[in-house]
């Protein structure tokens, strides 16, 4: 079985994000970038399938600028076999990303697609579901447990009330939640080895997908700051404040 994993390069989750003074975007110059954490979980899950001999090839794909090579190299160092970089200078909306991924799926014919449930920059939580819809494949979103056999995959999903388990006929799209696994650390020899693994570069124009945005970003603003509060010294003082000052306890 071939697995395709879609990975996005995003501002590192430990970085505090600042809005640019002209309110057009957030500051991305000289900011640390890394693989979307959910995508790291997707890569890890794919590698585990390969280690269990349920998959024989893992292809990782990223859409974005030249520097996306770095996140592809990270995935290759973790254990993916080869990478595809779809080069574009534009930031793309989920539907366009899903259409490009569909074109890649048609070339590569994977049986399973693993993606993150959400990218931590735009927080859309859409692309996997859209791709599944475009392909008319089943979808297992927000997965915290996945088990696969030759014809189907069983997915336990984190939902608002608890957990839900579904069986999906292959081929299928799965999006990862935080508790699916803990991604491995990359060893130095693996980083060296990953340099020899192939990354194919394609230009986005080759896909014949309409790239015109359906969404215009008019403005990006920082959120309103909360006014700073006070420290209380004792439990009695706290309860008194909550009752009489904030009036949230009766």
């Amino acid at each position: 079985m071939k697995i395709l994993v879609a990975i996005k390069r995003v501002i590192d989750f430990k970085t505090s994000v600042r809005v640019k003074a002209d309110e057009t975007d957030v500051e991305t110059a000289n900011v640390k970038m890394s693989m979307n954490p959910f995508d790291e979980i997707a890569v890890e899950e794919a590698i585990r399938f390969k280690e269990q001999e349920k998959a024989n090839e893992i292809v990782v794909v990223s859409i974005g600028p030249e520097q996306c090579q770095e996140v592809l190299r990270t995935a290759l160092a973790m254990g993916a076999d080869r990478g595809i970089l779809v080069k574009t200078a534009h930031t793309l909306q989920p539907l366009i990303v899903a259409k490009i991924l569909r074109a890649i799926v048609q070339q590569e014919n994977p049986r399973l697609i693993l993606m993150g449930k959400q990218a931590i920059d735009s927080d859309n939580n859409q692309t996997g579901q859209m791709l599944a819809g475009l392909l008319n494949w089943p979808q297992g979103t927000f997965a915290s447990k996945v088990a696969c056999d030759n014809t189907s995959v069983t997915v336990t999903r984190e939902i608002d009330g608890g957990l839900e388990t579904l069986a999906l006929t292959l081929p299928a799209v799965i999006t990862t939640d935080l508790r699916l696994n803990e991604p491995r650390y990359i060893s130095l020899p693996n980083i060296v080895q990953a340099k020899r693994k192939p990354i194919q570069m394609v230009s986005i124009e080759e896909f014949n997908v309409d790239l015109s945005p359906r969404l215009k970003i008019l403005k990006v603003k920082p959120p309103e700051k909360r006014r700073s509060g006070i420290k209380v010294a004792t439990v009695t003082e706290l309860v008194d404040k909550l009752k009489h000052e904030a009036q949230v306890l009766s």
Binding site: I11, S16, V17, R18, V19, V26, Q93, P94, L95, K117, I120, D121, S122, N125, Q126, T127, G128, Q129, M130, A132, G133, L134, P138, Q139, G140, E158, D160, G161, G162, E164, T165, L166, A167, L168, T169, D177, L178, R179, P213, R214, L215, K216, I217, L218, V220, K221, P223, R226, I230, K231, V232, A233, V235, T236, L238, V239, L242, A246, V248, L249
Partner: protein
């Protein structure tokens, strides 16, 4: 202009989250229909006819819709939107709508705007990005607008029973699903209020140190009729079930009172609770970032403070 609201329910009752989307739908000044997709869900359909401001209730019931899986519900909704010319489709952002609506959008070939916190005009919306560290104002250029709205940004519509009740339109469209099969649901049983509608939330983090200790929060919550929440670290460590998680990738809440106990205040956690009216932080590290957004901070050992708090509240 016509708006289609997606009802969230479990075949027995309408979930209260739907009432938040109803409030948001009313800002469009268009007629609002609601669709109930399910099986043996007449009670839900009846409830929907009673919602104030609803023009029609579309009822799509067949056994194949029992678990409301997106593989057949998405093509059903897309089909109805085209046939009945809806220009807005909306639901409250939840794991249900986030699973379903992107698939609907893809089938209709339109964009979807997730987690809307303000509707500025019929095509211009505000949504948080980067875990709420920035707010983007976006203009949707598609003719059909599909939105999920944040429950914390729009209050639940009041349940005033409208009379006469809205008429029911039966939808006889049978989309089958041989792609996915429901196996089971394991729902967290609780007598406490739901996290997303609770007035008070007591939330615990890694500082609680064990599942056993986490129960200390539950007895306090019962005293205050509060819901219990958790940080990701507490869920990962197995102190609390996954549906307790508050944050960027968990639930977004804005109760009147949020009490964070043994939670450091990582941006991913703050993203889910910083719009709470009053925030209390209890932590033994005076430098913990949670204190920067807390209205009332109490520095100290939670294992001493919790029993004291119970005693003071019992007086």
């Amino acid at each position: 202009m016509k708006t289609l609201l997606i009802a969230e329910h479990n075949n027995q009752e309408l979930k209260s989250v739907t009432l938040h989307a109803l409030t948001a739908a009313k800002t469009f000044n268009s007629s609002i229909d609601i669709i109930v997709i399910g099986w043996q869900c007449d009670a839900v359909i009846q409830q929907a006819t009673q919602l104030s401001g609803i023009q029609q209730v579309l009822a799509a019931q067949t056994e194949e819709y029992t678990h409301q899986l997106p593989e057949n519900c998405a093509p059903l909704i897309a089909d109805i939107v085209k046939e009945h010319n809806y220009s807005v489709v909306m639901a409250t952002a939840s794991t249900f709508s986030k699973n379903l609506l992107p698939r609907v959008a893809a089938l209709l070939d339109v964009t979807l705007i997730s987690d809307v916190t303000a509707i500025l005009s019929p095509d211009t919306f505000v949504r948080p990005i980067y875990a709420g560290n920035a707010l983007a104002t976006v203009q949707d250029l598609d003719t059909i607008k599909i939105l999920t709205i944040r429950n914390t940004a729009f209050p639940a519509a009041l349940l005033v029973h409208q009379s006469p009740a809205a008429p029911i339109v039966n939808i006889d469209k049978n989309f089958s699903n041989d792609l996915s099969h429901f196996i089971k649901q394991e729902l967290t049983q609780s007598t406490r209020p739901e996290l997303t509608s609770a007035k008070i939330i007591i939330s615990g983090g890694r500082g609680l140190k064990s599942a056993e200790n986490f129960k200390l929060l539950e007895s306090l919550a019962d005293k205050l009729h509060a819901a219990v929440g958790a940080s990701r670290a507490a869920v990962d460590a197995g102190f609390a079930p996954n549906d307790y998680q508050v944050g960027q990738t968990g639930k977004v809440v804005a109760p009147d009172l949020y009490i964070a106990i043994g939670i450091s205040g990582a941006i991913q956690h703050l993203a889910g609770m910083k719009d709470s009216k009053v925030i209390v932080a209890i932590n033994n590290d005076p430098e913990a970032p949670i204190f920067q957004i807390a209205d009332y901070g109490l520095v100290g050992d939670l294992f001493k403070i919790l029993p004291e708090l119970e005693t003071v509240l019992s007086k």
